[in-house]
Every structure is written in C-alpha cells, then in structure tokens.
Amino acid sequence: MMLMFLKRALLDLKNNPLLHTVTVIVIALSVLIVSTFMLFSFNMAKMITVWESGVRLIVYIKPGIPMAEIETLMDDISHMSGVKNVRFISKQEALAKLAKKMNKQLSLIENLDKNPLPDALEVWINPAMKQWKEIERLAIHIESSHLVDDVEYGKNWLKKFTGILNILRFSAVMMSLIFFLAAVFIVANTIRLVFYSRIEELKIMRLVGATDRFIKMPFYIQGLIQGAAGGLIGIVILYVFFIIMLSSIDIDAVAYSFSIEFIPVKSMIIIIFCSMFAGWLGCYISLRRFLKQ
C-alpha cells in the first residue's frame, strides 16, 4: 500500500519536473540561509567559549595569614558555584610576573628593597557562568571572608565584553528563530503554490472516487522527498561556500586560539528533518483547506 503511494509520488515528480525542481530550489535556498547562519553561530559560540575561559578573579590575602588557613580558603572557594579552579600565587611569583609585565618600567621594581605585594589567589570562573552580575556576586561572597583583603576582577574591557557577548548570544537566538520560522513558512508557502496549480487534478481525482487518504499520501511523500532533497542540496552548497571561504581566509592571522569548523553532523540531520517537516507542513496546510471543501 505504502509502496503504491511512493510509486505514485515518484511518478508525479516525473510528470511535473519544472514545478518540483523550482520547489526543491526554493527549499534548498531556505536551508542554505538557515544553515549558513547556524555555521556562523556555531563557530561564534565556540569562539566565545574560548574567550570566556579567560575570566578570573584575583583574591588578595591579608598579610601574615598562615599557609594552612589559605589552603582552607582555597578549598572553600573551589566549592563555590561557578568556580572552575583556584590557584595560589605567592607574593614572590606576583612580583616576578609584575616585573615581566613592566618591561619598560623595570627600574621601578629593581629599586625596591622589600616585596610590597600581597599573596593572592587566582580564581578561574566556569565559562557557563555568563552573567556579569553572577561574577560580581561571587566576588562579594569571597570578599566577606576575614582572610581576604580585597578581590579584583573585571578588567573593564571584559566587563563591557560580557555585556556585548550577551547581545550577540541573544540576537543569535532571536535570529535563529526568525530565520528558521521564515524558512519553514517559505517552504510551506511554496508548496502551497504548487498545490494551488494542481488543484484541478485533485478535484478530478475526488470526482472519480478517490478517498482523502489516496489523495493525501502521495502529496505528503512528495513533500518529505522534496524537503529532504532541498535540505541536502542546501547543505552541500553551504559546504562548497565554506571550503572556498576557508581557503581564502588568511588562517594564520586568525586561528590562534580556535579553528573554524563546519556545522556538526547532528545539526545537519536536524536541518534536513526540519526541511522535511516544512515540506510536510506545506502539504498539510494546503490539503486541509482543500479537503474541507
């Protein structure tokens, strides 16, 4: 039975080549748009993760605290939510670092007779903790310890940055949603146009005694086939663009900390399922209207 419907669906694809080709093109283009954007978002998300792994707090310890107490504090902090790991930085290490950083102002340090820097802890933040406010809350919490002199965090650019990353993230979600819905509706409407141009044929079928099921099934199968074909073609086109793009970017100037990757196979499968769904939806909307008559 199903086989018969499949055969009829394929026969029909053969009988209306132009119509179905144009439909598949439109689906492919819609998928191209959505998957291009997914490629972009996916890589941007990766990039952001790389940046964010750089967020940390410096906890300055009050002078003269014994090492044992500091270790307890470290243990406490490392169990706070959002903390990835905690590292102890002795005042000696801090001075050495400072000296290295101040290459032009080295004389400043060479002139010292005693190390004026405090011991400190470097607290690395879990990249999953994205809100600046949460980081702030964590800092205040740590500062409340009687061992702690002060907590330094948020180089200004990073603070600004976190806000901006949130806009990026938010717009990416919004845009994905808009693009996805738009693509689904474009596909559905395109199939409606095709349907509209074949309504006479369906009326005839009905008049000679076809059941709703007999009319519907080949359409659904076609919708699914077209969705799958369009989805596949769209992704292949994107892949070609991707390869061209990769070879034209100056990789060295760009790829220190992360490499650009194509959308993962799982997402591709989701895209193709969605485009099949859109194909089916177009049929469903049109057929429901028609069959109600």
């Binding site: 009988n15 044929e201 079928m205 076809a210």
Partner: protein, 227 residues
C-alpha cells in the same frame, strides 16, 4: 423495461447558485437498469442534475437517495464509495493534462484498489472499445476534441460502474463514432448498468427508444416514464 426497484430517488430537489436557481423542485425516480435521456436547451440544468447525483455539487434543498444512501446526510468518508458507483462522462472531459491516457484511466482503477496486472488488462480493453488503443501513451492536450471525448468515455466505463452518467457524450464526435459509442452504452445497459444520458442532440434521442426527462430553466417539463 424489467426491474422496477428505484436505484435513484429524487425528492423535491432544488439547486441554487447564489441567487440563480439551476434546478427547482425536481421529483423523480430512476429504476435500476433503466436507460434515460435528460434533455433540454442550453442552461436547462442537465449537467447540474447529474452533478447532484455523484455529489459534484451540494444539494440546496430536498433529498436524493442513491442505492439506499441519502446524499444530504452522507458522511464525508462514505462519499468516495458513493462516487465509485458512478461512471461519469464529463461534459468538459476533465482529463488530467500531465498524465498519459493510460495513467488517466488507470487512476480510476487504482482508486478502486485493483491489482496491477488487472489494471493493465482493463485499460487496454476499454481503450479498444472506444477505438483509442494506439494513443495509450499520448497526453490529453495532444488529442483532438473527439479523441479526448472517447478517452473520457473509456475512463467512465473502466470501473464497471452500476450507473453511467453521460453528459453530452457525442457532442464532439462525428456520426460514425457517435453511433459506435451509443452501441457501446447499449451493450453496457444490456449487461445491467443504469444509463443516464444528458444531451440536446435530437437525432441521438430519436435513434434509441428510451425514457426521456425534459428540463427547461431548471423545471421538470416532461417525463415520458419507462418505456
């Protein structure tokens, strides 16, 4: 003419298209295995009457009972089965332009759920009956008017329907072809089909002695009754 059980009963039926009344207060019975002409001038309501029978248009008022089913009350999912009682020769052919002649006819048999090799055999035989077996793979738009009409006739009889509705079946045919088609319909009638022919071809009506129902402006003007 033999069997007197009415297969079609029409009670006070009206059909209105907007303000236009196409059929007014039609009441009549048609017996199983009858041969009936529906006549009347252009716009009289002949096509409309046939359409109501196979649910091609909804009935505005009144009741039609076909083979025991009340068309006003029939459920959506029974409609296809009602329609399969009929073989309809549509006035405007209603062939699917991008399917071949073979596919157009096979469709009716597929719908009825016939097996593949039975379909092939049956399509061949009805095309032979109307003299079009050599155009099996042609598309309808590439056929002449008369040829398309013959295909429509072949499609109508392919499913061995209980009732044949023929709307102006010889309008585009020359005398000889028309004679052939009428003979074909008479053979099917003799084999037990009810045949209802809508036509204004006086010559055709004269050529066969049969019941005549005459419509005019949607009213039933004359019914000779079974003869």
């Amino acid at each position: 003419m033999g069997n007197s059980a009415p297969i079609i009963r029409i009670f006070h039926v009206y059909k209105r298209y907007g303000s236009q009344t196409a059929l007014a207060d039609i009441t009549l019975d048609i017996n199983a295995k009858e041969f009936v002409f529906v006549t009347g001038p252009s716009g009289a309501g002949k096509t409309t009457l046939l359409k109501l029978l196979y649910l091609g248009e909804p009935i505005s008022e009144g009741h039609i009972i076909v083979d025991g089913m009340n068309l006003t009350r029939i459920k959506r999912d029974r409609m296809p089965f009602l329609r399969r009682l009929f073989g309809v020769i549509f006035q405007d052919y209603n062939l699917i332009p991008n399917k071949t002649v073979y596919e157009n006819i096979a469709l009716v048999l597929e719908i009825a759920g016939h097996k593949r090799n039975m379909i092939t055999k049956k399509v061949g035989s009805v095309l032979r009956a109307v003299g079009m077996e050599d155009r099996m793979n042609a598309y309808p738009p590439s056929l002449s008017g008369g040829e398309q009409q013959k295909i429509t006739i072949a499609r109508a009889i392919a499913g061995d329907p209980k009732i044949i509705l023929a709307d102006e079946p010889t309008g585009s045919l020359d005398e000889d072809s028309a004679g052939d088609i009428m003979n074909l319909l008479r053979v099917l009638h003799a084999r037990g089909a009810t045949v209802i022919i809508a036509t204004h071809d006086k010559e055709l009506i004269r050529s066969i002695p049969a019941r005549q129902i005459r419509l005019d402006h949607g009213h039933l003007r004359e019914d000779t009754g079974s003869i």
